[in-house]
């Protein structure tokens, strides 16, 4: 392609930076203005074929159909629940999207999930004009339990999981805790004792803080071994 590209892959760009001119397609966080493509967020440039996008370094959780999220029941309504999924929009979980039998009109929904309960749910529909719709139908979905709830930036979630789950599996192995991660940045931690949970939570916050450093998995592993006295 003989068209001008003004940035390299993984350059840090800021809003308004000119990315490319001509026959490129704007991907995520990039916008076309006439013949030119500009960045709309602070982030790293990613070029795939003729598609140029910006991988953001900060931002809120924005629901996408297919995402697995951990939400908190805000209110039980007549036909479903309002769920806080820590996004700019409140989510709806209709009773028809749970495995509950019976008819919604004859059931007091707060006996199934009440305010404050946590659910692991999947986003099935969202298009900004209406609030996101959740389902509990699917493997692993349903009421979520955890002794501690940790909220981190949803953008750091890939780092917490690591390549092929290396980071999260190491955390689980070292602390013996059950750790549930939602794509909206909510992490639930349950362990045998207070100490292992505390170490796990500390490690999660440290991963969020130091997400940019290399060899983090080893550093965290060492920290946990020291803390847990093994």
């Amino acid at each position: 392609m003989g068209v001008p590209l003004f940035v390299n892959r993984r350059d840090v760009v800021t809003p308004g930076d000119l990315l490319a001119e001509g026959e490129f397609q704007p991907g995520e966080n990039a916008l076309r203005e006439g013949n030119r493509i500009y960045a709309s967020k602070v982030g790293l440039v990613d070029v795939e074929g003729d598609r140029i996008s910006v991988v953001p370094l900060k931002g809120c959780y924005f629901p996408k159909p297919g995402d697995l999220v951990i939400g908190r029941i805000v209110e039980a309504g007549l036909t479903g629940w309002e769920v806080d999924i820590f996004a700019p929009y409140p989510a709806l979980l209709p009773m028809s999207e749970t495995y509950t039998r019976g008819h919604a009109s004859k059931t007091d929904l707060s006996t199934i999930f009440s305010t404050g309960d946590l659910v692991m749910a999947k986003v099935i529909a969202f298009d900004r004009t209406r609030d996101p719709l959740l389902t509990l139908k699917g493997p692993g979905l349903g009421k979520a339990f955890g002794n501690r709830l940790v909220r981190i930036s949803p953008i750091k979630i890939p780092r917490l999981i690591g390549r092929k789950g290396s980071m999260i599996n190491m955390l689980k192995r070292e602390t013996g805790c059950r750790i549930t991660v939602g794509q909206n940045g909510i992490v639930l931690v349950s362990g045998r004792d207070d100490k292992s949970e505390r170490v796990a939570v500390e490690a999660i916050y440290r991963i969020e803080r130091e997400a940019h450093t290399q060899g983090l998995t080893d550093g965290i592993e060492e920290m946990m071994r020291r803390e847990l006295g093994r």
């Binding site: 370094l57 931002g59 995402d67 929009y89």
Partner: protein, 255 residues
């Protein structure tokens, strides 16, 4: 402070604080200074010290302020009681309400608010110390805080003022110069789109002075824009390595 007269403002081409007519005051910018805000910035512009926090996009409250096609942008410019020599009442004054409005309108063209309909984006500008030109410094800080919050924007907005002291054009007036000078004109500008988003003036300019002043302001907005970009890059250059280590793995959930 000794009493100044208008003639003192410019002596042999040197202003009271030692600047020449076309010098900006020293500017320092820092991004991501507050933990609890979604985005934040701290800016020092001469003696101005301003803290900006941005929240959002989040659910709009009360619900009736939500717009069906874009995000509502709320902006509060507030001066701390200790920010000026005589204690300022903490209640929003007529002046602060007006400045909140013009700052909001200066930032609105830059924010891609149509990406988040029905939500609200809240900008809080706290002036901790004030010395003239705080609305411009507030705009500069707010742009940084918005970018830091990860809010999609067309461009960063940079702002600076041009005024007239002792009959001559001067850049970036301080409080004393503003009070004794003959004119002050704040300008906010989006360099990538070559668009002015705020233009106010009090006092009087001739046509030629106005034209030269606007050009001077725009030229210096571009300098400030570069500083804003550097401040953001500095904050994120470290974080940039993360994605390299990560190899761009898509987000997943773990059950």
């Amino acid at each position: 402070m000794p009493q100044l007269s208008p003639e003192d403002l410019l002596r042999d081409g040197i202003r009271v604080d030692g600047r020449r007519w076309n010098d900006l005051r020293p500017i320092r910018m820092e991004v991501g200074v507050l933990d609890k805000a979604d985005g934040s910035a701290y800016i020092e512009h001469g003696k101005n010290k301003i803290l900006v926090a941005v929240y959002g996009p989040r659910e709009a409250h009360p619900k009736h302020i939500a717009l069906p096609d874009r995000a509502t942008i709320k902006c509060r410019y507030h001066m701390a009681p200790f920010s000026v020599e005589e204690r300022k009442s903490p209640a929003p004054s007529r002046r602060e309400i007006e400045i909140s409005k013009v700052i909001r309108e200066a930032l609105e063209p830059a924010i891609l608010s149509e990406y988040y309909p029905r939500t609200s984006i809240d900008i809080f500008i706290e002036v901790l110390q004030s010395d003239g030109g705080s609305r411009c410094a507030g705009i500069n800080g707010a742009s940084l805080a918005l970018a830091d919050a990860g809010i999609p924007m067309r461009d960063l907005v940079a702002a600076c003022a041009v005024g007239k002291i002792a009959g001559q054009l001067a850049l970036d007036l301080s409080d004393a110069e503003d009070k004794l000078g003959e004119a002050d004109m704040p300008v906010a500008y989006m360099p990538t789109y070559d668009s002015v988003t705020l233009l106010q003036m009090d006092g009087s300019f001739t046509h030629d002075e106005f034209a030269a002043g606007l050009e001077l302001a725009v030229e210096n907005c571009k300098k400030i824009y570069q500083m804003q970009k550097d401040a953001l890059r500095k904050q994120y250059i470290e974080a940039g390595k993360e994605a390299v280590a990560e190899g761009g793995a898509g987000p997943k959930a773990v059950i």
